[in-house]
Amino acid sequence: MPLSDHPPSARALCARLRFDARPSIRRSLVLWLVLPLALLVPATAFVFYRLALAPALDSLDHALDGTALALERLVRLDNGVLSLVVSRELDSALRADRYDDVHWVALGPDGHVLAGDRELATLGGLPSAVDWRFSDATYNQQPVRVALHSWTCIPAAPGRAAAQCEARVSETLNKRHGVAQQVLAAAASAMLVEALVLAMMGWIAIVRSLRPVESLSKDIEQRSPEHLGPVDRPGIPREVAPLVTALNDLFARVVTASAAEKAFIADAAHQLRTPLTVLRTETELALLEDHPPQLEGLLRRLHIATTRAARLANQLLSQARAEHERHNSAMERFDLKQIASEAAEEWVARSVDAGVDLGFELESARVDGHGFLLREMLANLLDNAINYAGHGARVTIRTGASPVSPDCAMLEVEDNGPGIPVDQRERAFERFQRGNAGGTGSGLGLSIVRDITAHHGAVAELLDGPGGVGLKVRVTFAPARSKT
């Protein structure tokens, strides 16, 4: 089974460690939702504050103005003389306020003080009063609000122009500050609650709408490389559906393309066999018949090359077949002893030809598997051993319980040939990695073995051969499911 270059866990780990500069839907949603919210909420709070504060302040102004109006009523005009008499009780009534210091003054037409606080009369920076007006000012080093009220206190008469009087009432800003604080607190808390609710809803919306995409990609990520069936997710939202459709189309095309490719390889290998058989027979015939001695070497090399090509064609075909078998047949119970016995006829003949002593140590070893694949695996192991161990070697095929655990079945093929150095053993499982020892191997044998063992959940190991010489390939199978 081809493994991806990096295990997903390592990839995920690295992704978490560094900032991911790729565009992100989540990030842009957050940006476009939360940033405007962060700007809009304070702005709205400010407007709310201003809108709510203005009438509150107005009503306070009008209360102040009421005092000024009261002063107007108190000013008397007797025979052209203006007078304002304020008793102590009246004065304290005018100044009565729970929170603020109230000051007042009434001014005659020429600006002289009729009654009240003189300092208020000389307060600078006040606009001239027309009917009524409000202004901010500083009185006794304290900021105050001033209501200015003017009225016609001496009506026009023949020979006399009308004259205006003015009343000024000031109060400190405690009430106003209090109101402002209350309004501000109300506006801020309302907006804060709104902002929180909006942010939360936004986050939930983002997470919820991205969840199908995430689970879809997790689904695909967790697939085995062979699994190219269509993605079937009933809960896919409309927006993601085109992506799923496109993916399924792609899967279908990949399946078709890879099937076509495999069929092509199988077909090509198949077609190669007849000409290879001719070539092989002819070279063998030429070697048997009389030939000029200088051609001997050439014929031998030709024969070796042809044999190698033939084996490669066979293995390509067997790999294509194995692939097919994997997907199209169910596992059955087999005894490795039986499979090895059946292989004896063919392999003894070959080992005799190759001058190899092939021996058997067979004990019953039950496994669940595909018969074709198990035979193919054994064939590749024996082919390798006979090929690489060379003339005069001893090759032994062994089946039985694993020496590691008696519950596990095991198949071993060992030889006392040149072996494979420990540091090159892992690489030996890769495709087209041929050993150094010449031979006529195609370099596919061990890779086929590994594919087949992986498919059976078994493990193939390369170990030292008998007495530390040569090579021992041990395939250990998971315990067969108990079946009565």
């Binding site: 198949h270 066999r273 007849t274 000409p275 290879l276 058989t277 001719v278 070539l279 092989r280 027979t281 002819e282 063998e284 015939l285 048997l288 018949e289 042809t306 044999t307 033939a310 064609a313 066979n314 075909l317 067997s318 077949r321 016995s341 004896a344 006829e345 003894v348 003949a349 070959r350 005799v352 030809d353 002593d357 092939l358 021996g359 058997f360 140590e361 067979l362 018969g371 074709f372 035979r375 032994t396």
Partner: protein, 237 residues
């Protein structure tokens, strides 16, 4: 159409082995035929399966070598027609397919053996020889290999003209091996076979008998190869 080969120069009195080769690839047919002729055998060739049933009825072939993938009727059908007329001619199937089902199908439809292309010349020759021998042995009450002859009726064995003395079990074992010339015989098979004849036998006893047989057969130029942990193979040295 059958292409007949000129008869080889064979020892007088010994009829040459005759083989019918059915293979539709002309190149492969040609080189295979030459390989077989190099053994002194007479080889007739044809590219199609249709005439095969008729010619095996007319001519006394010793072996039919049949390619599975033929134009027209395929090898399986050809074989079925041959068997349908009651012929027990040994048949070696050549197949470019190594699907186990094909082998099984071939053997079930009456093939005696099969070879997967591309095969080694030596393998083709060895399998062909084994089939021819088995066929020749099957007919009569005499089994033979090389110099060795076993007359089953008279219960006597000869190496050349010299009678070979065999103990009871040695006789049984040798007979079993000779009846399966060219095939490996597992120890268990031997035990099963001779136990039917004369009681039970142990593994060790078989080894002793075989080792005696081995020295007795040496003058005949026959060799019993031990297949370590499995059984024996009787072959000409």
């Amino acid at each position: 159409m059958i292409h007949r080969s000129p008869p080889p120069i064979a020892p007088i009195g010994v009829p040459p082995v005759r083989i019918l080769l059915v293979e539709d690839d002309p190149l492969l047919s040609d080189s295979t035929a030459r390989a077989l002729r190099s053994q002194g055998w007479v080889v007739d060739c044809t590219e199609r399966g249709e005439p095969v049933a008729v010619s095996v009825r007319q001519d006394p072939y010793d072996l039919l070598i049949l390619d599975v993938g033929l134009a027209g009727i395929d090898g399986f059908e050809t074989l079925r027609r041959v068997r349908a007329q009651g012929s027990d001619l040994p048949v070696l199937m050549l197949t470019a397919r190594d699907a186990i089902e094909d082998r099984v199908r071939g053997l079930e439809s009456g093939a005696d053996d099969y070879l997967v292309k591309p095969f080694a010349l030596s393998e083709l020759v060895a399998r062909s020889r084994a089939l021819v021998r088995r066929n020749q042995a099957r007919g009569g009450s005499v089994l033979s290999l090389g110099n060795l002859r076993m007359d089953l009726e008279a219960r006597r064995a000869y190496i050349g003209e010299q009678e070979l003395a065999l103990a009871g079990r040695e006789w049984s074992i040798l007979q079993f091996m000779l009846s399966r010339t060219g095939k490996i015989v597992a120890k268990e098979q031997i035990i099963a076979a001779i136990s039917n004849w004369d009681g039970t036998t142990s593994d060790n006893a078989i080894e002793v008998h075989v080792s005696r047989l081995r020295s007795k057969l040496e003058p005949a130029g026959l060799k019993i190869r031990t297949i370590r942990g499995f059984g024996y193979l009787l072959e000409e040295a």
